[in-house]
Protein backbone atom coordinates (compact mmCIF):
# COMPACT_ATOMS: atom_id res chain seq x y z
CA UNK A 1 0.00 0.00 0.00
CA UNK A 2 1.04 3.74 0.12
CA UNK A 3 1.75 3.89 3.89
CA UNK A 4 5.64 3.89 3.84
CA UNK A 5 5.73 6.93 1.46
CA UNK A 6 3.26 8.84 3.62
CA UNK A 7 5.62 8.19 6.57
CA UNK A 8 8.52 9.63 4.62
CA UNK A 9 6.61 12.82 3.86
CA UNK A 10 5.63 13.11 7.49
CA UNK A 11 9.24 12.61 8.54
CA UNK A 12 10.47 15.32 6.11
CA UNK A 13 8.03 17.84 7.57
CA UNK A 14 9.02 16.90 11.10
CA UNK A 15 12.72 17.28 10.26
CA UNK A 16 12.06 20.68 8.71
CA UNK A 17 10.18 21.98 11.73
CA UNK A 18 12.82 20.55 14.07
CA UNK A 19 15.56 22.57 12.32
CA UNK A 20 13.50 25.72 12.75
CA UNK A 21 12.97 24.93 16.41
CA UNK A 22 16.78 24.47 16.83
CA UNK A 23 17.27 28.30 16.49
CA UNK A 24 15.07 29.08 19.45
CA UNK A 25 16.78 26.46 21.67
CA UNK A 26 20.16 28.42 21.85
CA UNK A 27 20.78 29.13 25.55
CA UNK A 28 21.42 32.72 26.69
CA UNK A 29 25.24 33.24 26.83
CA UNK A 30 25.31 34.54 30.44
CA UNK A 31 28.60 32.80 31.23
CA UNK A 32 30.29 34.25 28.13
CA UNK A 33 29.02 37.72 29.02
CA UNK A 34 30.48 37.40 32.52
CA UNK A 35 33.81 36.30 31.05
CA UNK A 36 33.79 39.24 28.65
CA UNK A 37 32.91 41.73 31.37
CA UNK A 38 35.82 40.39 33.46
CA UNK A 39 38.17 40.70 30.46
CA UNK A 40 37.20 44.34 29.96
CA UNK A 41 37.74 45.10 33.67
CA UNK A 42 41.11 43.37 33.59
CA UNK A 43 42.19 45.41 30.58
CA UNK A 44 41.07 48.58 32.34
CA UNK A 45 43.14 47.83 35.46
CA UNK A 46 46.12 46.92 33.29
CA UNK A 47 46.14 50.49 32.00
CA UNK A 48 44.54 49.88 28.61
CA UNK A 49 42.56 53.10 29.15
CA UNK A 50 45.86 54.97 28.92
CA UNK A 51 47.93 52.98 26.45
CA UNK A 52 45.26 51.32 24.20
CA UNK A 53 42.23 53.56 24.65
CA UNK A 54 40.66 52.98 21.21
CA UNK A 55 40.96 49.19 21.48
CA UNK A 56 39.43 49.19 24.96
CA UNK A 57 36.57 51.44 23.80
CA UNK A 58 35.81 49.00 20.98
CA UNK A 59 35.65 46.12 23.48
CA UNK A 60 33.28 48.10 25.68
CA UNK A 61 31.01 48.95 22.73
CA UNK A 62 30.74 45.30 21.68
CA UNK A 63 29.96 44.33 25.25
CA UNK A 64 27.12 46.88 25.36
CA UNK A 65 25.75 45.61 22.06
CA UNK A 66 25.98 42.02 23.40
CA UNK A 67 23.99 43.08 26.46
CA UNK A 68 21.40 44.75 24.21
CA UNK A 69 21.13 41.56 22.14
CA UNK A 70 20.61 39.62 25.38
CA UNK A 71 17.70 41.86 26.29
CA UNK A 72 16.17 41.22 22.83
CA UNK A 73 16.75 37.47 23.43
CA UNK A 74 18.93 37.38 20.29
CA UNK A 75 21.25 34.91 21.94
CA UNK A 76 23.31 33.89 18.92
CA UNK A 77 24.24 37.52 18.20
CA UNK A 78 24.75 38.16 21.91
CA UNK A 79 27.23 35.27 22.20
CA UNK A 80 29.15 36.34 19.10
CA UNK A 81 29.45 39.96 20.27
CA UNK A 82 30.42 38.89 23.78
CA UNK A 83 33.20 36.64 22.41
CA UNK A 84 34.52 39.46 20.24
CA UNK A 85 34.36 41.88 23.16
CA UNK A 86 36.43 39.46 25.24
CA UNK A 87 39.16 39.03 22.63
CA UNK A 88 39.17 42.80 21.96
CA UNK A 89 39.70 43.41 25.68
CA UNK A 90 42.54 40.87 25.72
CA UNK A 91 44.11 42.61 22.75
CA UNK A 92 43.77 46.03 24.44
CA UNK A 93 45.49 44.66 27.55
CA UNK A 94 48.30 43.10 25.51
CA UNK A 95 48.81 46.33 23.60
CA UNK A 96 48.93 48.35 26.84
CA UNK A 97 51.60 45.98 28.14
CA UNK A 98 53.75 46.24 25.03
CA UNK A 99 53.33 50.04 24.83
CA UNK A 100 54.51 50.39 28.45
CA UNK A 101 57.45 48.03 27.94
CA UNK A 102 58.49 49.78 24.74
CA UNK A 103 58.37 53.20 26.45
CA UNK A 104 60.50 51.84 29.30
CA UNK A 105 63.00 50.36 26.84
CA UNK A 106 63.27 53.66 24.96
CA UNK A 107 63.77 55.53 28.23
CA UNK A 108 66.45 53.11 29.31
CA UNK A 109 68.23 53.33 25.95
CA UNK A 110 68.23 57.12 26.28
CA UNK A 111 69.53 57.04 29.83
CA UNK A 112 72.38 54.75 28.82
CA UNK A 113 73.23 57.06 25.95
CA UNK A 114 73.28 60.02 28.35
CA UNK A 115 75.29 58.05 30.91
CA UNK A 116 77.85 57.08 28.29
CA UNK A 117 78.27 60.68 27.11
CA UNK A 118 78.49 61.88 30.68
CA UNK A 119 81.15 59.41 31.73
CA UNK A 120 83.25 59.83 28.61
CA UNK A 121 83.30 63.57 28.93
CA UNK A 122 83.95 63.96 32.63
CA UNK A 123 85.32 60.81 34.25
CA UNK A 124 85.07 62.38 37.67
CA UNK A 125 81.32 62.75 37.99
CA UNK A 126 78.74 60.12 36.83
CA UNK A 127 75.27 60.81 38.31
CA UNK A 128 73.04 57.78 38.81
CA UNK A 129 69.89 58.03 36.66
CA UNK A 130 66.58 56.87 38.14
CA UNK A 131 65.53 53.46 36.90
CA UNK A 132 61.86 53.17 35.84
CA UNK A 133 60.44 50.04 37.41
Amino acid sequence: MNRPIHSFAAFATLAGSLSLAACSSVPPPTEQLAVSRAAVDSAQSAGAGEFAAADLAQARQKLERAQAAMRSEDYVVARRLAEEAAVDAQFAQARAGSARARAAAAQVDESIRALRTETERAPTAAPAPTTPR
Partner: protein
Protein backbone atom coordinates in the same frame (compact mmCIF):
# COMPACT_ATOMS: atom_id res chain seq x y z
CA UNK B 1 -2.48 7.79 -9.44
CA UNK B 2 -2.09 11.44 -8.07
CA UNK B 3 -0.60 10.16 -4.79
CA UNK B 4 2.17 8.32 -6.63
CA UNK B 5 3.11 11.36 -8.69
CA UNK B 6 3.18 13.56 -5.56
CA UNK B 7 5.42 11.11 -3.72
CA UNK B 8 7.77 10.86 -6.73
CA UNK B 9 8.22 14.65 -6.75
CA UNK B 10 8.99 14.72 -3.03
CA UNK B 11 11.57 11.96 -3.34
CA UNK B 12 13.21 13.69 -6.30
CA UNK B 13 13.32 16.98 -4.40
CA UNK B 14 14.86 15.30 -1.36
CA UNK B 15 17.48 13.61 -3.55
CA UNK B 16 18.37 16.90 -5.18
CA UNK B 17 18.63 18.62 -1.86
CA UNK B 18 21.03 16.00 -0.52
CA UNK B 19 23.12 16.14 -3.69
CA UNK B 20 23.18 19.91 -3.53
CA UNK B 21 24.40 19.80 0.05
CA UNK B 22 27.30 17.50 -0.72
CA UNK B 23 28.16 19.46 -3.86
CA UNK B 24 28.28 22.75 -1.85
CA UNK B 25 30.78 21.30 0.54
CA UNK B 26 33.52 20.82 -2.07
CA UNK B 27 32.88 23.94 -4.19
CA UNK B 28 32.28 26.81 -1.66
CA UNK B 29 35.57 28.80 -1.23
CA UNK B 30 37.05 29.78 2.10
CA UNK B 31 35.56 32.91 3.62
CA UNK B 32 37.82 35.98 3.38
CA UNK B 33 37.82 36.41 7.18
CA UNK B 34 39.34 32.95 7.59
CA UNK B 35 41.88 33.57 4.84
CA UNK B 36 43.01 36.78 6.54
CA UNK B 37 43.28 35.05 9.90
CA UNK B 38 45.29 32.21 8.34
CA UNK B 39 47.70 34.61 6.63
CA UNK B 40 48.23 36.56 9.86
CA UNK B 41 48.84 33.32 11.78
CA UNK B 42 51.41 32.13 9.22
CA UNK B 43 53.32 35.41 9.46
CA UNK B 44 53.34 35.29 13.25
CA UNK B 45 54.40 31.64 13.35
CA UNK B 46 57.33 32.25 11.02
CA UNK B 47 58.59 35.10 13.22
CA UNK B 48 61.13 33.42 15.56
CA UNK B 49 60.66 36.08 18.27
CA UNK B 50 56.91 35.55 18.40
CA UNK B 51 57.27 31.75 18.32
CA UNK B 52 59.77 31.97 21.20
CA UNK B 53 58.10 34.47 23.51
CA UNK B 54 54.35 34.04 22.77
CA UNK B 55 54.01 30.31 22.16
CA UNK B 56 50.91 29.99 24.37
CA UNK B 57 49.10 32.86 22.66
CA UNK B 58 50.01 31.46 19.22
CA UNK B 59 48.53 28.11 20.18
CA UNK B 60 45.30 29.81 21.27
CA UNK B 61 45.19 31.55 17.88
CA UNK B 62 45.66 28.21 16.12
CA UNK B 63 42.79 26.71 18.09
CA UNK B 64 40.53 29.66 17.27
CA UNK B 65 41.29 29.29 13.55
CA UNK B 66 40.64 25.52 13.72
CA UNK B 67 37.28 26.23 15.31
CA UNK B 68 36.48 28.73 12.53
CA UNK B 69 37.52 26.24 9.84
CA UNK B 70 35.37 23.48 11.36
CA UNK B 71 32.33 25.77 11.61
CA UNK B 72 32.74 26.86 8.01
CA UNK B 73 33.09 23.31 6.75
CA UNK B 74 29.95 22.40 8.67
CA UNK B 75 27.56 25.30 7.99
CA UNK B 76 29.10 27.87 5.60
CA UNK B 77 27.41 30.46 7.80
CA UNK B 78 28.76 33.84 6.75
CA UNK B 79 28.01 35.58 10.07
CA UNK B 80 29.65 32.73 11.96
CA UNK B 81 32.66 32.84 9.65
CA UNK B 82 33.03 36.62 10.10
CA UNK B 83 32.78 36.24 13.87
CA UNK B 84 35.14 33.25 14.31
CA UNK B 85 37.56 34.59 11.71
CA UNK B 86 37.72 37.91 13.54
CA UNK B 87 38.33 36.16 16.83
CA UNK B 88 41.16 34.10 15.32
CA UNK B 89 42.74 37.20 13.80
CA UNK B 90 42.55 39.08 17.11
CA UNK B 91 44.21 36.17 18.89
CA UNK B 92 47.12 36.41 16.46
CA UNK B 93 47.30 40.15 17.19
CA UNK B 94 47.42 39.37 20.93
CA UNK B 95 50.33 36.97 20.33
CA UNK B 96 52.21 39.69 18.41
CA UNK B 97 51.68 42.26 21.19
CA UNK B 98 52.80 39.82 23.88
CA UNK B 99 55.95 39.11 21.85
CA UNK B 100 56.62 42.84 21.47
CA UNK B 101 56.22 43.39 25.22
CA UNK B 102 58.57 40.54 26.14
CA UNK B 103 61.19 41.71 23.65
CA UNK B 104 61.08 45.22 25.11
CA UNK B 105 61.35 43.77 28.64
CA UNK B 106 64.39 41.76 27.57
CA UNK B 107 65.94 44.95 26.23
CA UNK B 108 65.28 46.70 29.55
CA UNK B 109 66.93 43.83 31.43
CA UNK B 110 69.94 43.87 29.13
CA UNK B 111 70.05 47.65 29.53
CA UNK B 112 70.33 47.33 33.30
CA UNK B 113 73.39 45.14 32.80
CA UNK B 114 74.67 47.56 30.16
CA UNK B 115 74.25 50.52 32.49
CA UNK B 116 76.13 48.70 35.22
CA UNK B 117 78.91 47.94 32.77
CA UNK B 118 79.20 51.58 31.64
CA UNK B 119 79.23 52.71 35.28
CA UNK B 120 81.83 50.10 36.21
CA UNK B 121 84.01 51.24 33.31
CA UNK B 122 83.65 54.84 34.44
CA UNK B 123 84.47 53.87 38.02
CA UNK B 124 87.63 52.05 36.95
CA UNK B 125 88.67 55.04 34.89
CA UNK B 126 87.94 57.36 37.83
CA UNK B 127 89.92 55.11 40.13
CA UNK B 128 92.84 55.02 37.74
CA UNK B 129 92.84 58.79 37.37
CA UNK B 130 92.57 59.24 41.13
CA UNK B 131 95.36 56.75 41.67
CA UNK B 132 97.55 58.50 39.15
CA UNK B 133 96.97 61.93 40.62
CA UNK B 134 97.53 60.54 44.11
CA UNK B 135 100.80 59.01 42.96
CA UNK B 136 101.81 62.27 41.30
CA UNK B 137 100.86 64.22 44.41
CA UNK B 138 102.86 61.81 46.53
CA UNK B 139 105.83 62.13 44.20
CA UNK B 140 105.60 65.90 44.32
CA UNK B 141 105.33 65.89 48.09
CA UNK B 142 108.35 63.61 48.40
CA UNK B 143 110.25 65.84 46.02
CA UNK B 144 109.28 68.94 47.96
CA UNK B 145 110.30 67.23 51.18
CA UNK B 146 113.71 66.22 49.91
CA UNK B 147 114.19 69.67 48.43
CA UNK B 148 113.31 71.20 51.78
CA UNK B 149 115.73 68.83 53.43
CA UNK B 150 118.49 69.82 51.05
CA UNK B 151 117.72 73.49 51.57
CA UNK B 152 117.73 73.00 55.34
CA UNK B 153 121.02 71.14 55.18
CA UNK B 154 122.39 73.84 52.96
CA UNK B 155 121.17 76.56 55.26
CA UNK B 156 122.58 74.67 58.20
CA UNK B 157 125.90 74.23 56.58
CA UNK B 158 125.86 77.80 55.40
CA UNK B 159 125.12 79.19 58.80
CA UNK B 160 127.57 76.68 60.24
CA UNK B 161 130.19 77.80 57.80
CA UNK B 162 129.40 81.42 58.48
CA UNK B 163 129.81 80.72 62.19
CA UNK B 164 133.15 79.06 61.62
CA UNK B 165 134.30 81.90 59.42
CA UNK B 166 133.31 84.43 62.05
CA UNK B 167 135.20 82.48 64.68
CA UNK B 168 138.28 82.23 62.47
CA UNK B 169 138.19 85.90 61.60
CA UNK B 170 137.79 86.69 65.27
CA UNK B 171 141.11 84.99 65.79
CA UNK B 172 142.51 87.34 63.17
CA UNK B 173 141.05 90.20 65.18
CA UNK B 174 138.72 91.15 62.36
CA UNK B 175 136.37 94.04 62.87
CA UNK B 176 132.71 94.08 61.76
CA UNK B 177 132.19 97.20 59.69
CA UNK B 178 129.48 98.52 57.46
CA UNK B 179 131.29 96.93 54.54
CA UNK B 180 131.64 93.55 56.23
CA UNK B 181 134.43 91.84 58.17
CA UNK B 182 137.76 93.64 57.88
CA UNK B 183 141.18 92.32 58.95
CA UNK B 184 143.78 95.04 59.36
CA UNK B 185 147.48 94.29 58.93
CA UNK B 186 149.40 96.95 60.72
CA UNK B 187 152.58 98.82 59.89
CA UNK B 188 154.72 96.56 62.09
CA UNK B 189 154.36 93.83 59.58
CA UNK B 190 156.43 95.72 57.09
CA UNK B 191 159.83 97.29 57.27
CA UNK B 192 159.74 101.06 57.19
CA UNK B 193 159.06 102.26 53.71
CA UNK B 194 159.27 98.72 52.43
CA UNK B 195 156.71 96.44 50.92
CA UNK B 196 158.28 93.16 51.97
CA UNK B 197 156.34 91.33 54.64
CA UNK B 198 158.27 90.62 57.81
CA UNK B 199 158.36 87.08 59.14
CA UNK B 200 156.09 88.11 62.00
CA UNK B 201 153.34 88.69 59.47
CA UNK B 202 153.38 85.11 58.26
CA UNK B 203 151.12 83.82 61.02
CA UNK B 204 148.38 86.22 60.01
CA UNK B 205 148.98 85.43 56.34
CA UNK B 206 148.73 81.69 57.02
CA UNK B 207 145.51 82.11 58.98
CA UNK B 208 144.04 84.26 56.23
CA UNK B 209 145.08 81.74 53.60
CA UNK B 210 143.50 78.86 55.55
CA UNK B 211 140.25 80.80 55.85
CA UNK B 212 140.20 81.63 52.15
CA UNK B 213 141.09 78.11 51.10
CA UNK B 214 138.29 76.72 53.26
CA UNK B 215 135.69 79.30 52.32
CA UNK B 216 136.07 79.37 48.60
CA UNK B 217 132.76 81.28 48.36
CA UNK B 218 134.39 84.30 49.99
CA UNK B 219 136.55 86.89 48.25
CA UNK B 220 138.73 89.58 49.72
CA UNK B 221 139.62 93.08 48.69
CA UNK B 222 143.13 94.03 49.87
CA UNK B 223 143.43 97.76 50.34
CA UNK B 224 146.75 99.48 50.90
CA UNK B 225 147.11 102.80 52.83
CA UNK B 226 149.91 105.07 53.97
CA UNK B 227 150.24 108.13 56.18
CA UNK B 228 150.46 111.63 54.72
CA UNK B 229 154.25 111.85 54.90
CA UNK B 230 155.92 112.02 51.51
CA UNK B 231 154.55 112.65 48.03
CA UNK B 232 151.21 111.40 46.85
CA UNK B 233 152.74 109.37 44.08
CA UNK B 234 155.26 107.64 46.35
CA UNK B 235 152.55 106.92 48.87
CA UNK B 236 150.34 105.46 46.19
CA UNK B 237 153.22 103.38 44.95
CA UNK B 238 154.06 102.07 48.42
CA UNK B 239 150.46 101.25 49.28
CA UNK B 240 150.14 99.49 45.97
CA UNK B 241 153.28 97.44 46.50
CA UNK B 242 152.21 96.48 50.02
CA UNK B 243 148.72 95.41 48.92
CA UNK B 244 150.22 93.28 46.19
CA UNK B 245 152.73 91.82 48.60
CA UNK B 246 149.91 90.58 50.74
CA UNK B 247 148.20 89.26 47.67
CA UNK B 248 151.30 87.45 46.55
CA UNK B 249 151.81 85.93 49.97
CA UNK B 250 148.26 84.60 50.03
CA UNK B 251 148.53 83.13 46.55
CA UNK B 252 151.82 81.53 47.59
CA UNK B 253 149.85 79.87 50.39
CA UNK B 254 147.50 78.28 47.87
CA UNK B 255 144.68 80.81 47.75
CA UNK B 256 143.11 81.15 44.32
CA UNK B 257 143.96 84.50 42.73
CA UNK B 258 140.30 84.74 41.72
CA UNK B 259 139.43 85.27 45.35
CA UNK B 260 141.67 88.33 45.67
CA UNK B 261 141.45 91.91 44.50
CA UNK B 262 143.99 94.54 45.46
CA UNK B 263 143.66 98.30 45.50
CA UNK B 264 145.92 101.15 46.55
CA UNK B 265 144.71 104.36 48.15
CA UNK B 266 147.86 106.05 49.24
CA UNK B 267 147.21 108.56 52.04
CA UNK B 268 143.47 108.63 51.39
CA UNK B 269 140.98 107.40 53.99
CA UNK B 270 143.12 107.86 57.11
CA UNK B 271 141.82 106.22 60.21
CA UNK B 272 143.71 108.47 62.59
CA UNK B 273 145.23 111.92 62.67
CA UNK B 274 148.48 112.29 60.75
CA UNK B 275 149.70 114.97 63.20
CA UNK B 276 151.22 112.48 65.65
CA UNK B 277 153.39 109.43 65.34
CA UNK B 278 150.84 107.02 66.72
CA UNK B 279 148.21 108.28 64.31
CA UNK B 280 150.58 108.08 61.38
CA UNK B 281 151.47 104.53 62.33
CA UNK B 282 147.82 103.59 62.48
CA UNK B 283 147.28 105.03 59.01
CA UNK B 284 150.07 102.95 57.61
CA UNK B 285 148.03 99.77 57.14
CA UNK B 286 146.64 97.13 54.81
CA UNK B 287 142.97 96.35 55.14
CA UNK B 288 141.54 93.08 54.00
CA UNK B 289 137.81 93.40 53.42
CA UNK B 290 135.82 90.16 53.28
CA UNK B 291 132.94 89.60 50.90
CA UNK B 292 129.53 88.28 51.81
CA UNK B 293 128.64 84.64 51.22
CA UNK B 294 127.95 85.35 47.54
CA UNK B 295 131.44 86.80 46.99
CA UNK B 296 130.45 90.46 46.73
CA UNK B 297 132.74 93.00 48.30
CA UNK B 298 131.41 96.47 49.13
CA UNK B 299 133.74 98.97 47.52
CA UNK B 300 134.45 102.37 48.91
Amino acid sequence: MNNTKFVQVIVAAAAFATLGLTACQSVVPEHSALAEARAALNTATSDPNVARTAAVELQQAREALARADAAWARDQNIDEARNLGYIARQRVAVANEVAARKLAEERVQKADAERERVRAEARTREAQVAQQSAATAQQQAAQAQSQAQVARAQADSESERARRLAAELQQLEAKQTARGMVVTLGDVLFDTGQAELRSGAMRSIERLATVLREHKDRRVLIEGFTDSVGSDSSNLDLSDRRANAVRGALVAQGVSPNQIDARAYGKAHPVASNDNAAGRQANRRVEIVFSDASGRVVTR
